[in-house]
Symmetry: C2
Subunit: 99 residues, 2 copies
DNA sequence: ATATGTAACTTTGATTCACAAAGTACTTTA
DNA sequence: TAAAGTACTTTGTGAATCAAAGTTACATAT
């Protein structure tokens, strides 16, 4: 591929999805509310980006409890990790291999 | 800023504008047609992204000739370089400073 | 002189995306 | 019982993306 942007993953063009993935790369499991606060998003906005990532098989959802309150957490899948690493590699490649 | 995506530049959410900038970071001057071929874009699509970058003061345009044919070239501005470097730093920060 | 070609756009129109705000269902705490 | 929290979904609006076609201006070939 000569085209320097051809290997970038379209899913990660979104800064929010990029942010979610980068958080999940270094944190095994993160709750909906923590993501919401870290990224300063409304519920609806976060939920829609999370479902895009889930539909693409990049993360998985765990519905549980903290004490008696519902608590949904998210973690990255193998496929998500692979795709995200691939995207970062493409970014690095684009930036450095141009000379 | 705690929010890991808060320092990303919105202009560079677009893969195409990211590609243009990364090309112009390492090539002093690049023609419209070269950009078009490198990024595999239609005229209109490239032109619109270029004008967004220009409106933001990130690149400048030189209208010249090659022999007798018109030849428009683009180069990065100081502001563009600064913004792009800032964006890359924010990306790196986001990816690495999360633990 | 006419037609064809090339460069660099602009315009148009359709589709998709992003986002806030409001609504929903369920539970919990005061 | 009322208020608040969790995790959504729905709705509506505006913005962004893109291909395709049209445009302007010059160049070259016939």
């Amino acid at each position: 591929m000569i085209n320097p942007i051809g290997n970038l993953n379209k899913i990660f063009d979104s800064r929010i999805r990029l942010g979610v993935m980068s958080i999940l790369m270094v944190n095994e499991e993160v709750s909906f509310n923590d993501l919401k606060q870290m990224l300063e998003l409304t519920d609806g906005n976060l939920a829609s980006h999370l479902s895009t990532l889930e539909e693409n098989g990049f993360l998985k959802v765990h519905k549980g409890f903290v004490g008696r309150k519902t608590n949904t957490t998210y973690s990255i899948t193998k496929a998500g990790e692979k795709a995200f690493k691939g995207h970062l590699a493409a970014l690095e490649n684009m930036i450095r291999s141009m000379d």
